[in-house]
């Protein structure tokens, strides 16, 4: 595919959203829908501008991003530790995996009341909830990745005398990397989801708080701006992982979307 046609393909992707935005603006300006329920795009831009200039938006983004980062880091790290043990050792799998599979069956939001009871309404319950959300996708994909490593490649490691940590670092880890990235990316998107849940319940700062605030003060523009910013942050953070994935996994012999 030529660069030009790729650009044309991307341009085609903009047609529908731009048309919808224009329709939205027109419908509200014409007075068919109340501006207090569906503020027009022009008003959203103004709200965004106001929030940005008084520094409030940056504060909300900062605290929300920190929560996601902390929760994701904790959840993913624990998933890597437990996943490595379960994936590499049949013993550990026999002892640990049933428990974690059972825990996974609990809808993560069911933890909320318990977390609030145990940890109060400070940062701890929020970060814990996000960590729980990020844990399972990383854990499941990592374990599946390790258990699917080609025995023949492990044998190559054996021929070269690799044992223990060296075998893990030079054979298992790179072989598992594709699965690991799948897990990390879905873990991160769940982390954003659980951030909103946590901040909707009890928060005085953050994008989830902005959502609550908008609802309580009947300002739909605030709600919509918060939604848009959340979407952008989610996309941005996933983009970082996606770029890392592309860079690190260039060796994969996979279907690239061009049949034959």
């Amino acid at each position: 595919m030529s660069t030009l046609s790729i650009a044309a393909g991307q341009a085609r992707g903009w047609v529908l959203p731009l048309a919808l935005l224009a329709l939205w603006e027109a419908v509200v300006q014409a007075g068919w829908v109340g501006a207090h329920l569906l503020p027009p795009p022009s008003e959203l831009v103004r709200t965004l501008h106001d929030l940005a200039t008084d520094g409030a938006l940056l504060g909300h983004i900062g605290i929300s991003s920190l929560r996601v980062l902390a929760g994701f880091a904790i959840g993913a790290s624990l998933a890597l530790l437990v996943g490595a043990a379960v994936g590499l050792s049949r013993q550990a799998e026999a002892y640990l995996d049933p428990t974690f599979q059972a825990l996974r069956a609990i809808p993560s939001l069911a933890w909320v009341p318990l977390l609030l009871l145990w940890l109060g309404i400070d940062e701890a319950p929020k970060i814990t909830l996000i960590a729980i959300g990020a844990f399972f996708p990383v854990y499941l994909n990592f374990v599946a990745g390790i258990q699917n490593v080609d025995r023949k490649l492990v044998e190559v490691g054996g021929i070269f005398g690799l044992k223990g940590w060296a075998l893990v670092a030079r054979i298992f880890l790179p072989a598992t990397l594709p699965n690991l990235f799948t897990g990390l990316r879905s873990g991160l998107s769940l982390a954003w989801m659980f951030l909103v849940a946590a901040e909707l319940i009890a928060a005085t700062r953050g994008l989830g708080y902005l959502l609550t605030d908008g609802r309580e003060t009947a300002r739909a523009d605030l709600v919509i701006v918060a939604i848009i910013v959340l979407a952008l942050l989610g996309k941005l953070s996933d983009g970082v992982l996606q770029r890392a994935e592309k860079r690190l996994l260039g060796w994969r012999d996979v279907f690239d979307g061009r049949a034959a």
Partner: protein, 272 residues
Amino acid sequence: MSKPLLQLQVEEKSFRAHRVIDRLALDIRAGEAVSLVGPSGCGKSTLLRIVAGLETDYAGRVLVKGAAPQLHSPDVGFIFQEPRLLPWLSVADNVGFEAGRHGGRHPRVRELLAEVGLAAFADAWPKQLSGGMAQRAAIARGLFTQPALLLLDEPFSAVDAFTRMRLQDLLLSVAAHHGTTLLLVTHDIDEAAYLSDRIVVMDSGPGRIAGEVAVPLPRPRDRRNPALARAEAEVLTLLNGGQQGYRDIAPDIVAAPPTPTQLNGATLGFAV
């Protein structure tokens, strides 16, 4: 005469209750090229894995340069049936895997890649290589430690006939250059005759040696040399239990008995 490079005396090797090797003795001198041929399941690959140190649970005594074989001996290189390159490493890093994380920068990698005709592919991913090229990279990797003994487990069975001939010649030239002793497992009797000084014919289970055929021809050899065909005929006779006529070589594999002319195709083992 000096001690053999490899001294093999395997009393018994079993997988669960199934005995795959039974009282087998074989010595290989330095510089020799020896092939093991025999029907599927006769234990020849297992024998190779014992020498490589991949199988340790057996009764008997195996000495490589007078010492028990161990995994990761610099004296022994191993080449698998498939290239088994690590897909996440460049070709150069695969060849220099032994030398660690950035093994591809080792000066010997460049020499070996040039020797197997892959100098231009040092930075390529394995997925960019053809089957024959990948197997050449695997040969270079097997030679990295400059092993005295190179073990090959049906190394060219997955490539087409022309590539196979070129890989065979490549193997002979690098082995001659490095003075490497070769122990090769193959299903291909043509290949065994062309590559080897000695062909060791194994009996179907439990693995025992049915006999040996010497191929005392100078190198480089002409593939059309009638002496090669005579050696192949001797191998076939041994596989046939010493009979000229047909005997069921692998009754569990060959459903309908092939005619003797079919057997003269000189390749066995994939008669499925």
